[in-house]
């Protein structure tokens, strides 16, 4: 099993290095978006009056970007594999569902690691955030979020027949993540029923950990419950994806 998972992960990364458009989408887009966020927020005069430190939010946006991109890319690539017939071919050539799901997670985790490193560097230099003490906690949290993203991507790919059909599923994850995770609006300011809904948004737990560690200066140990919930959601999504990945038409 490990051998086949590794074969898939290596293949995905090899393709990633060859596909310039894909590489551009994965690496250039986060850079452009982070720069955009910086200049847009700096130009808002109301933020300074409200005593909002945009640097506090930078790391949360960074996590949001990694989550969003890993989700979109893994969904599209898996649907493309199904459309071009390479996914059915993998099944016939001896790859099992769980190997395929874990192979994609391993492959995208490598890509997500590169994305995370890039985004963290940008956060550090663009927003002047000191990450040195919390780096391990941040990387672990963003990696767990990437696992959630890929699990969600594999699961959603079951419902799309072609790449175009992926797009209606994008707002389903992206909008609740933006509104209910605590990035844009504090969860305690939301109506009660939306506060309940926020428990279903994986990004919420990543935001909890990152806000605690980076903004409030708490230890990672204090954030372990949220971290383990995030990890648990990731594992549950991977298990669901392994069971639901369509092997037969």
């Amino acid at each position: 099993m490990i051998r086949n998972v590794n074969l898939i992960a290596v293949r995905i990364n090899r393709q990633f290095l060859r596909d310039r458009r894909f590489m551009a989408l994965s690496l250039v887009v986060p850079v452009v978006l982070m720069v955009m966020i910086k200049y847009v927020f700096e130009s808002l005069p109301g933020l300074a009056r409200l005593n909002v430190h945009i640097a506090d939010y930078a790391i949360l946006f960074a996590a949001y970007l990694v989550h969003f991109l890993a989700y979109i890319l893994s969904t599209i690539v898996l649907v493309r594999d199904r459309v071009t017939g390479t996914l059915p071919r993998m099944f016939v050539y001896g790859y099992r569902r769980r190997e395929i799901v874990l192979g994609y997670v391993a492959g995208y985790s490598t890509i997500a690691t590169v994305q995370t490193a890039l985004v963290l560097l940008l956060t550090k230099y663009l927003f002047d955030v000191n990450l040195s003490g919390d780096l391990a906690a941040i990387v672990l949290t963003v990696m767990a979020l990437a696992v959630v993203s890929v699990g969600l991507g594999v699961f959603i790919s079951n419902f799309a027949r072609n790449e175009g059909q992926v797009f209606p599923f994008v707002p389903m994850v992206v909008v609740p993540s933006a509104l209910l995770s605590g990035i844009a609006i504090p969860i305690e300011d939301l109506p009660t029923f939306l506060q309940w809904c926020s428990y279903l948004v994986p990004l919420r737990y990543a935001v909890d950990v990152l806000t605690g560690v980076v903004v409030q200066g708490e230890s990672f140990f204090d954030q372990l419950p949220s971290f383990f919930i995030l990890l648990g959601i990731g594992v549950a999504l991977l298990a669901t994806a392994s069971l639901t990945l369509r092997e037969r038409e």
Binding site: R18, T86, P88, R89, M90, F91, V92, E247, R248, E249
Partner: protein, 280 residues
């Protein structure tokens, strides 16, 4: 392989309608039919990547639904479209797909199959630089990687040039002589003639399963006789039975200047069978 009463619908479209087939080992079996007749649907059901609505499939003596993983280790599958990774080279694709089966001595096998499909010199070039025929060859090489007992090939020679097509068929004959079974779909009638048995498929229904020669003998023969300067033409159904009667009737004396017999080709017979079966 045995298919019994296989049916499959996609919405309101009935792709397979109570199809049954029996394929003996160590033969080349051809599935012949126009586009959309259900050939790929049968092939996918045999490979375990299609769940039929009803009916049963046995492959290599095993019930396909419960034993699909065990069956797959013993079969080589070539889909209708190349279904390989375009940004990878043939060597990388074959290593990846061959890797799923743990092919022993992977490097030697890789060289052997890529030389057979004449892609060894291009083994490290990305597939997106290849023509359609070259991709088909890479796809066939992939199906041969683990030297399977059973080859299931969906239109393997589509887009392949005539010389290489000949090579493919020579290789199929050689595989059959080594006891391998080849199940392929085609809409090239000259290829149907090279199969040991063929099944004709139309609108998801199997019209007939026979040897190509037995199917051809169902066709008509046009017989033209020049007798004493006049010409008599007739169309007979059962050529082998009718010919002696005609010869007896007209004799073979000096008054018969010429006898011309033209039997329907296999393609014509198949087209007639399809026409008789009608569009529904």
């Amino acid at each position: 392989m045995e298919i019994q009463g296989l049916s499959k619908s996609y919405g309101t479209i009935r792709a397979l309608d109570d199809a049954s087939l029996l394929v003996a080992p160590a033969q080349v079996f051809g599935l012949v039919g126009p586009n959309g007749s259900g050939k790929s649907t049968i092939i996918k059901a045999l490979c375990g990547i299609l769940k039929p609505d009803s009916g049963s499939v046995r492959v290599l003596g095993l019930e396909a639904d419960r034993n699909r993983h065990a069956i797959r280790e013993r079969l080589g599958y070539m889909p209708q479209t190349p279904s390989l990774y375009d940004d990878l080279s043939p060597a990388e694709n074959l290593r990846f797909f061959g890797g799923g089966f743990r092919v022993p001595d992977l490097d030697t096998r890789l060289r052997s199959v890529l030389e057979f499909v004449r892609l060894w010199d291009r083994r490290n070039d990305p597939l997106y630089t290849f023509s359609g025929g070259m991709r088909q060859r890479a796809s066939l090489a992939c199906a041969l990687m683990h030297d399977p007992e059973l080859l299931i090939l969906d239109e393997p020679t589509a887009g392949v040039d005539p010389a290489l097509r000949q090579n493919f068929w020579d290789h199929f004959a050689e595989l059959r002589s080594r006891g391998r079974t080849i199940f392929l779909s085609t809409n090239q009638m000259d290829e149907a003639l090279r199969c040991d048995r063929i099944a004709i498929l139309l609108n998801g229904k199997i019209l007939v399963t026979e040897t190509p020669e037995a199917i051809r003998s169902r066709g008509k023969a046009h017989i033209t006789l020049d007798v004493n300067g006049g010409q008599t033409s007739m169309e007979v159904g059962d050529y082998e039975k009718e010919l002696p009667r005609i010869l007896a009737e007209y004799g073979l004396g000096p008054q018969v200047n010429r006898i011309s017999i033209r039997r329907q080709s296999l393609e014509e017979v198949i087209l007639d069978l399809i026409e008789e079966a009608g569009p529904g």
